[in-house]
Subunit: 155 residues, 4 copies
DNA sequence: TTTT
DNA sequence: TTTT
């Protein structure tokens, strides 16, 4: 179990179209996206509005989800991403150790969501792309004879 | 410090317009919103598409933020909410104990975000509503002479 | 995809031993735990230390994980829980509609972690309980010839 | 508001004692900690147990919280950290651009918690260190005449 | 009921 | 470097 947690949640816009990486043998497609988050504040001294953008390297190792990213996302798309941090080591041309930190999208179901923009305007549901391999959520309220909460706001 | 964590993150749509509650003395405005989240899956047995909606009572005790909710949110608005769970006890008309669980929006800055729909279409930034009381984010990259990451994707 | 997110993170202590519910046909064991979170603050007016505890109904529908909860958790155990909110409707003895909100533990791997106390003191790893059905994490750094970050501190 | 979210949650152990950085003028103390998270799995091919550790640079820019980290944390301490990602640019000795990604602890209250080990065994509460500047949580259940949930289990 |  |  490892007594540890490594969790990242991002909501932001793609800075460019997704890059579909070369397929590694047996592993399927890999998608790389650049996600921007920004915060703004009023400068204490000048009173001016300031803004700061962070760019995040987000990587998807799942073949099917990468295809969906390819189809549904483009420069400007607003996405929700849930993943974990990984820092990988590489060697630059001068032979020096370099480290790059990425957000790895964790699991298939629900860890990336298209929230707006891009190609997702009214063309049907994302889930339509998925084969029926997705299991039913496991909980009481999904059982037959269960809640009719779906039909009305219960409060 | 209490060695505990109580954290909720929701992205969903408002099921109705916000309700601005009566002002409690000295506490400012309170906003109540009904947020829907849903998940869908293919039924194992029938193969049919099924969907399940959850409704969340979300409460904001901050006066200023409640005003913003009032202005910026309406039925259908997609919001991001970050808060914590509270269950409060009350007594019904039969004199019985009842419990209601709500998501309390945690702090002012950034714990509710309008992601789409509603009144937020191109009318300027949410932050324009805020007085300059918001402090500058505290971190290295915000210092003078700092990063020019804002101008370009660095990867 | 549903354009929505419903996510709860708790770190808190069990208020009593886990309750293993009756097995529903075909669904395996269900575990119910009561998790307390608390926050404390200094009262603005009196200056006294005040504390507030929240109790959370946490439910696990996974058979194997429920067994682990049964073995590893007891009254007082500190746990990390990651799940989502569900409110289910039921009818009380007076025939009135009632609603109960629970935190449903999301998926098997890593969504409950024993952080301390209870029976988890030095009795071996939680993972030893698991059969080898757990898949390898999918990411670059796990590939053969990959990173040797594990062996040394990169900063 | 910026329509974006940048959020990191870590639970892990300190790999070394905290490093208290030089004070920047007017900004107070800065604490740097190295937090390890790890995951383990059974190798698909060999069946062997494998483990992978990630190291996270975590930075605290808050003076008071940095003092607490200094006192309460040491090599081996298990901590909960909530923050956001920042990547800062710097120039190495060869004059090349380099980027380092860090987790910045977000705000004062509750964004770092000592969960175990280290110096936190029975020496009194963390909160005792804090002056009474912490405001009361704002919510219904904290009001006078409010809930007595604290005293009894509601389920 | 828990815990600090 | 940590921890299980």
């Amino acid at each position: 179990m490892s007594q540890s947690v490594n969790r990242v949640i991002l909501v932001g816009n793609l800075g460019r179209d997704p890059e579909l990486a070369a397929r590694r043998e047996g592993d399927g497609k890999i998608a790389n996206i650049a996600v921007a988050t920004s915060e703004s504040w009023n400068d204490r001294n000048t009173g001016e509005r300031r803004e700061k953008t962070q760019w995040h390297r987000v990587v998807c190792f799942n073949d099917h989800l990468s295809s969906v990213i390819e189809r549904r996302c483009q420069k400007g798309t607003l996405v929700y991403v849930e993943g974990h941090l990984e820092t990988r080591k590489w060697t630059d041309q001068q032979g020096q150790d370099r480290y790059t930190t990425e957000v790895i999208i964790d699991r298939f179901d629900g860890n990336i969501k298209v929230l707006g923009n891009g190609r997702n305007t009214g063309e049907g549901r994302f889930d339509d792309d998925r084969p029926s391999r997705s299991a039913a959520p496991r909980s009481a309220a999904n059982t037959p004879g269960g809640s009719d909460l779906d039909d009305e706001i219960p409060f």
